[in-house]
Amino acid sequence: MSATEKIYFYPVWLRIWHGFNALGIIALIFTGISMQSSIESAQVVGFNMVVNIHNIAGVGVTLSYFVYFIGNMITPNGKYYIIKPQGFLKKPMKQAVYYAWGMFHGMKAPFPISEKRKFNPLQKYIYIIVMYMAVPIVIITGIALLFPEIIIEKVYTFSGVFVTAILHSSMGFFISIFLVIHIYIASIGKSPLENFKSIINGWHHVH
């Protein structure tokens, strides 16, 4: 067995946030789908209850987002999200090619993680889009839908609530797709469970 180096990648606050956020997002996805499709899930959990759970989970995830946002401002974790202009498109493309082709053809990971690089370029871009664009939009539209009287009545000829709701649910959907891919990609490692262990105990093995 080759010598492995352990890096303490995930500090306690980040792991607690990640776990809390994961549970909240999962609750939001299931209640969101249930509300939207209104499959007579009423038999199991009533519509009012589903709406209540969605609202409470939404507030929880909003609060946890602030923990994440502030945490990234004041701890060194934020530096992993900085993008440099060199290879702006080339780098994530290279990573995508690795996932789609290279990893099956003996290619070495083009951007192995190290203390300086927690995320590969593709991962970094997607995290930035999800965490600094999709989630804030979902939070803002979610708060607006919680207090619909604050929404502007008309956007051109469209109802403000309608536009807000479509934005909220499509971003929510985008986050759900992210979650599925996120969980799948996490299984790519030395062993399928390795990354899942890391996010629980904080240590990442660099091989």
Binding site: F47, V51, F162, V180
Partner: protein
């Protein structure tokens, strides 16, 4: 002069009976002014006297409406004293639900009929003999009350909805009113059989093209108002799963 005796002539010229002279319905003695006080006691025709049994009004189904109305709480409690005109002013009535393509306008017009008594202390007490319930408090359980009041009619929950009648007239007693969210908030929404059944609005309820999606004035959670987005989301989700399955198969084959 008693303000209740003065007609809003502008509203009257916009109403469904605008082509009639006063004396078509009232005594010819109304031709002289000031009118004699005892004329107010003259017997007047009822709506069905003109509208009932006439082919040209058949599409309005006045007889069916009468049948349904006779089952309603209004008729059960007040009998024949509760005439059509208690809600539908014969002088100014407009068939908004048949002519308007704006949901909010239809809702507003319809709700004002109910509120003209149910939100008017004097009128309510005069007819019922007791104080009117405080509507906002009675509906306290309803989330986003104001939005509901603007976007759906009172009769959505307070009548027995009938597919075969434009507007259900069987107003239920309050203990029978609907309180189940999913009746409206579901793919098979009750609103499709009531508020959204009017032909002028029908397009919006059935068509899924982007134009009607965007032209929607109300958003109702759970009714799939945009089948295109629903389809797109299912396709994207399935493609994601297919991608993952293919990738996993390669990983297993290549032992990665």
């Amino acid at each position: 002069m008693n303000p209740y005796y003065i007609l809003d002539t502008v509203a009257m010229t916009a109403g469904v009976h605008k082509q009639f002279d006063c004396t078509d319905c009232h005594s010819s003695e109304y031709g002289s002014y000031p009118h004699l006080a005892n004329l107010k006691l003259e017997p007047l025709s009822t709506c069905l006297d003109c509208h009932g049994g006439d082919e040209s009004f058949a599409k309005y189904q006045f007889e069916r409406i009468d049948e349904e109305f006779k089952k309603s709480v209004h008729y059960k409690v007040y009998g024949d004293n509760f005439s059509c005109s208690k809600c539908h002013s014969q002088h100014t009535y407009k068939a908004t639900a048949r002519t308007s393509d704006n949901v909010l306008e239809i809702v507003d017009y319809s709700n004002k009929m109910c509120l003209s008594c149910h939100n008017d202390m004097k009128k309510f007490k005069m007819v019922s003999g007791h104080d009117n319930p405080k509507l906002v408090q009675v509906h306290d359980w309803l989330p986003n009350q104001e939005l509901h009041f603007q976007h759906v009619r009172c009769i959505e929950c307070h009548t027995e909805v009938l597919d075969s009648l434009m507007v259900s007239h069987d107003i239920l007693s309050k203990d029978k009113a609907l309180r189940k969210c999913v009746e409206c908030h579901s793919a098979n929404s009750r609103l499709k059989a009531s508020l959204y059944k009017y032909q002028n609005l029908q397009k919006r309820a059935e068509n899924g093209d982007l134009n009607t999606v965007l032209a929607n004035e109300s958003y109702i959670i759970g009714t799939h108002q945009s089948p295109i987005l629903k389809l797109a989301s299912i396709v994207i989700f399935l493609l994601t799963l297919v991608g993952i399955v293919i990738h996993s198969v390669f990983r297993i084959l290549k032992k990665k």
